[in-house]
């Protein structure tokens, strides 16, 4: 294994949105709204709540870790054997909200999880890409 692979993998996506944090919070936490932009779900913004995101290509299991209304939301994201943590951060700006999502993956030095996840994610994304291609 190379040096990089001993680090935690992390993805950050950020965007300014011309909407107040309260409204974005609703989209992130209310089931019918989550379904509109992410996946079918039984999500509740309540610490320890276990939920599933469901799509044609499979399921994501999650558990809520932290909730600070209109500010931060953290949950686990387990798909195809890969465990990661997703953290949403909403920061008010003069024109709306800075939306930041960070997904932090497993530590690759946990060899078994890493090796298992390598092809697990491929299944995940192969299916996802098909779905996306169909909806484009």
């Amino acid at each position: 294994m190379n040096k990089e692979s001993t680090e935690t993998l992390s993805v950050v996506t950020e965007r300014e949105m011309p909407h107040p944090p309260e409204k974005i919070w609703r989209a992130l936490t209310q089931q019918p709204l989550i379904e509109e932009w992410l996946m079918k779900n039984d999500f509740e913004p309540r610490v320890d709540h276990r939920f599933k995101f469901r799509a044609d290509w499979g399921e994501v299991d999650g558990q809520v870790l932290a909730v600070e209304p209109n500010k931060t939301l953290t949950y686990t994201w387990v798909a195809m054997g890969l465990e990661s943590v997703v953290t949403w951060t909403l920061t008010p700006t003069s024109t709306g909200t800075h939306v930041r999502v960070e997904q932090t993956g497993f530590r690759p030095d946990q060899q078994r999880a890493y090796n298992g996840a390598k092809y697990g994610w491929q299944q995940f994304f192969a299916a996802l890409e098909q779905v996306v291609a169909r909806t484009d």
Partner: protein
Amino acid sequence: MLFKTLADPTRRAIFERLCRDGEQTVRALTARSGVSQPAVSKHLRVLKHAGLVRDRHEGRQTHYSPQLGALAPLIDWTSQMAGFWQRRFDHLEDLLKRMDR
């Protein structure tokens, strides 16, 4: 091809064991696989064909080792996930616009 190769649970288990424990003989793999030696050998041939394992002959034994490099195309996790969230952000923004109405 990698995808298809690893879709079989027995084959995947053999590959996982090699990843976890390193190089092993067919006999050692068979002892822990719960299937016959010919079946294990067949799975190993498929794995080898996909470039996922390499074999090394030593006397009458064949040793197999995992080739993690073969998985490299599959694991560009960060760029794939970033793409996923970018698309979801697009959907989220569409939804937020609709919520105004």
